[in-house]
């Protein structure tokens, strides 16, 4: 394999994993933008969607239908989470909302342990998603291509949604200035529900792609993706949607690059290097790459 081929292969890998981070980070950013809530339970929506998919597969549904059902389930779970956990404490101090998100996480994970038991279960995927395509010396996993294409399609739809539809523009308005949003008559409850629904839907999609990638699912599977998504949104600028996407891809590229560049003896410490890079970035841009520098309104 030539170095060019190696580079292309790694680039595809980086964009594929970055796509998953980006989709997850959007869900965090949408909610944070409006509520100033870092919803750590967002990761558990991945778990909910994946288990739902597995159950539907077990019931004999074809994979694509089961996956669709999984995405619908995580969307509904996100809406329920907003309604019963976050709406009653809206307006409470940020730290109360953060603690609530930890509580929701623990609740969902324990529920999953009770229902499915804590041991990991294999996550079957159709053969086509386990295959790799061969271009000369280049081997590209079809899952990577699917992840990139799905993410691209979702990002384009999302961009159209937030720039062309009234609900989408309202969502951006509410995240800019909640008081002004209420004073112009934006239905803030509806907008927040939309933000949760869209974020949870994206988490459901990520969940399925992630589960295929890892090959198994367990009740705690949401932790790692939500942590990565959180890092991605901090890199890009917390609460900014373009920032979340950018941060996701930057994180994906950074991880794969370090994996390729670090000598074998250091590669187990890859995450350490990633976080060191994050600290350096934040020293220079405390609000992330695209984060506002909190202009004083005069």
């Amino acid at each position: 394999m030539t170095s060019v081929e190696f580079f292309i292969q790694q680039a595809i890998n980086a964009i594929s994993i970055g796509s998953l981070y980006a989709l997850m980070a959007i869900g965090l950013a949408m909610v944070f933008g409006i509520l100033r809530l870092i919803n750590f339970a967002h990761g558990d929506l991945i778990m909910v969607g994946s288990y739902a998919t597995l159950m539907l597969l077990g019931a004999g549904l074809p994979f694509w239908l089961a996956a669709f059902g999984g995405v619908v389930t995580s969307t509904i779970a996100g809406l329920i989470m907003e309604r019963i956990a976050y709406r009653p404490i809206r307006g409470a101090p940020d730290v109360a909302m953060l603690l609530t998100s930890f509580a929701v996480t623990i609740l969902l994970e324990n529920a999953a342990i009770l229902i499915f038991n804590p041991t990991a279960k294999p996550f079957p995927a159709p053969a086509i998603l386990r295959d790799a395509l061969q271009f000369g010396n280049l081997r590209v996993a079809s899952l990577d291509i699917v992840a990139i294409v799905v993410a691209f399609a979702l990002l384009v739809s999302l961009t159209l949604f937030v720039t062309r539809t009234e609900v989408g523009i309202s969502m951006r308005a509410a995240s800019e200035d909640l008081l002004a949003a209420r004073l112009v008559g934006i239905n803030v409850n509806a907008v927040i529900a939309y933000a949760f629904a869209i974020g949870s839907m994206l988490a459901g999609v990520v969940g399925i792609l992630w589960s295929i990638r890892v090959g198994r699912i367990d009740p705690f599977m949401g932790f790692y993706p939500v942590l990565k998504a959180f890092v991605a949104s901090v890199i890009g600028g917390l609460g900014s949607l373009p920032g979340a996407v950018l941060g996701g891809y930057v994180l994906g590229i950074l991880e794969i690059m370090l994996q390729g560049l670090l000598p074998a003896s250091l590669s187990p410490f890859r995450d350490g290097f990633v976080f060191a890079a994050l600290i350096i970035l934040l020293l220079f841009r405390p609000n992330g790459i695209l984060g506002s520098t909190e202009r004083e309104k005069i």
Binding site: E166, I169, S170, A173, L183, V184, I186, R295, I298
Partner: protein, 234 residues
């Protein structure tokens, strides 16, 4: 049209409105004057449902607004243009105006109203594609007023529209306020610039530390020593 009946509002322990009573009739332009901390903005925020009233009633056309949500109050056509402008900085001028019409369902009319707002404030038409954050302070104030107008308010509440603006822009904004008043829009205007406010108002209330201390028509109040003091002091 709008009536305050012994309204008390608290910020935590602070007694911000101490039983204010007053009214705004249809088609009137009523000014609320007073120094900082007199409770003027609190009054408007209570009407909008952002602040909850402890006791007393705010009646708008036979409905008690103290029980209504901000969303429902806007649906009634009671619109506030808040102090400090609060435009959506990351949204374009056009998107800001569209957000003003979010309560309406008559899409074809919305387009006409955008043209109308841009005729009142031509600079908004020129800057339609720019984000709100890139506008100057005066332009932002025009955008904030324009956005409020996009909802076709039946009662428009303006909070300190002239604050911190150059005299020439203050004049533009007061010209528009006068024009809206002539077109029959009911306006409740909070101002520290008493001289300007009294030029356009029909009646006025003077507030001090959470209470109405003086009220009357502009003719009645002209020459009143308290108002004079406020003129000079303010």
């Amino acid at each position: 049209m709008l009536r305050f009946e012994n309204v008390h509002v608290y910020y935590g322990q602070v007694h911000a409105l101490k039983g204010i009573t007053g009214e705004v009739h249809e088609g009137e332009l009523v000014a609320i004057l007073g120094a900082n901390g007199a409770g003027k903005s609190t009054t408007l925020m209570s009407v909008s449902g952002i602040l909850k009233t402890r006791t007393g009633k705010i009646i708008y056309e036979d409905k008690d607004l103290t029980q209504a949500s901000p969303y429902n109050i806007v649906q009634l056509g009671v619109i506030q243009c808040p102090e400090g402008r609060h435009i959506f900085g990351g949204l374009t001028v056009l998107e800001n105006l569209l957000m003003g019409s979010v309560r309406r369902r008559d899409r074809s009319e919305v387009k006409k109203d955008i043209d109308w707002v841009c005729s009142l404030f031509p600079v908004l038409g020129e800057r339609a594609g720019q984000t709100g954050a890139t506008l100057s302070g005066g332009e932002q104030q025009m955008l904030a007023i324009g956005r409020s107008l996009m909802s076709r308010p039946r009662l428009l509440m303006l909070d300190e529209p002239s604050l911190g603006l150059a005299p020439v822009i203050v004049q533009t904004i007061f010209d528009v306020i006068r024009k809206l008043h002539e077109q029959g829009v009911t306006i409740l205007l909070v101002e520290q610039n008493a001289r300007k406010a009294l030029q356009v108002a029909d009646r006025c209330y003077l507030m001090e530390t959470g209470s109405v201390v003086l009220s009357g028509t502009v003719e009645e109040l002209r020459g009143n020593p308290e108002i004079e003091r406020f003129y000079l002091g303010g």
